[in-house]
Symmetry: C2
Subunit: 204 residues, 2 copies
């Protein structure tokens, strides 16, 4: 099996939110498709262990903000790269409340769907929820963002950090060489008496 | 509820195929997402009543050809706009067989997945199948096509058909006018005796 084939599937990206008792939370998912009509139902799949699906199992309701092409990495960092167990993910970000009292994004979303869970299926690594759509709104004229665009355009590229290791320091005045990674702050050149600030690193 | 919101969901497009006894068939679907890992499982949703899901319910196996950006409208016409009850959809199109003996596309697909059904759920209008992935291959370096691109770029634009209604026929030889939508094939001009083939339509 060639696992690279899975990268050829197309996904959109949503911020999935819910509320149980006083706790509101949201996360990023890339699996939201309409699976049936009359009534319209959406399927979403969420990683087990994450807080949002745990809360959805108790609340039985969820809301989706479909991310549009204006979305920035900050939204992914906020909802996707930290846990609602540690922080309030909605603090300091513009959001609205739907009729269920669930938050959805006021910016960077082109549509929202308010849903109630009609079935769920534990698939081991994930839980698949099917939600009946109770309300739907168009929020912006921007096109939706794809998961491919997130990877190619939005997610920061890993930077090539030059891993230079310092093996010594050289006096830029007289050329004296000090052996060792760390030059003491109060070091003075034994040849020309210039201070540590006149030394430059020698790399391996 | 604003139904236009549903157009803001992102989908890829696949040709879904199966085989039961001697009948192979395939159709176009826009709902295929990976919903779980270890083992990898895909969810697909199919319209009830169509032949392909009916065959999948009996065979318990299916294969997906993920359509890539080179796909033409012919593929959609072949697999999406006719029924396998009337035609053999695979006749005259290049295809390969996977280890289950199911056909997948030799062109216009960037990946394929061979799956066995591990669960199905009747949702009224559609059936949701979850398939465990038994094999996966990358087939082309082209990017996958999105359902949005199908609508914006691949599907022919509706043409303005002039709905002209014929109210009569005029003899092009002598100008005699016949009243009525249909000119009998054996009609002869009462003025000049020329045949029906010399008459031209008069539009409303």
């Amino acid at each position: 099996m060639d696992n690279k084939a899975f990268f050829d599937l197309v996904y959109g990206v949503c911020m999935l939110s819910t509320k149980y008792e006083d706790k509101i939370n949201g996360c990023i998912i890339n699996t939201c498709v309409q699976v049936a009509n009359e009534p319209a139902r959406l399927a979403i799949s969420c990683i087990n262990g994450n807080l949002t699906p745990e809360l959805i199992k108790k609340s039985g309701i969820f809301t989706l903000s479909v991310l549009d092409s204006t979305v920035t990495f900050d939204v992914f960092k906020r909802f996707g790269l930290q846990s609602g167990r540690d922080v309030d993910k909605f603090e300091g970000i513009d959001h609205l409340l739907d009729e269920q009292g669930l938050p959805y994004l006021a910016e960077h979303a082109d549509a929202m769907f308010s849903c109630k869970v009609v079935s769920s299926q534990d698939l081991g690594s994930h839980t698949l929820f099917i939600g009946e759509v109770l309300d739907a709104k168009v929020l912006s004229p921007e096109p939706p963002v794809t998961y491919g665009e997130y990877h190619s355009r939005i997610k920061p590229k890993p930077q090539t950090v030059e891993q230079k290791k310092i093996k010594g320091w050289k006096c830029s005045i007289c050329g004296y060489e000090y052996e060792g990674e760390t030059l003491p702050e109060d070091f003075m050149c034994p040849w020309c008496s210039h201070p540590a600030s006149d030394f430059e690193p020698i790399y391996e």
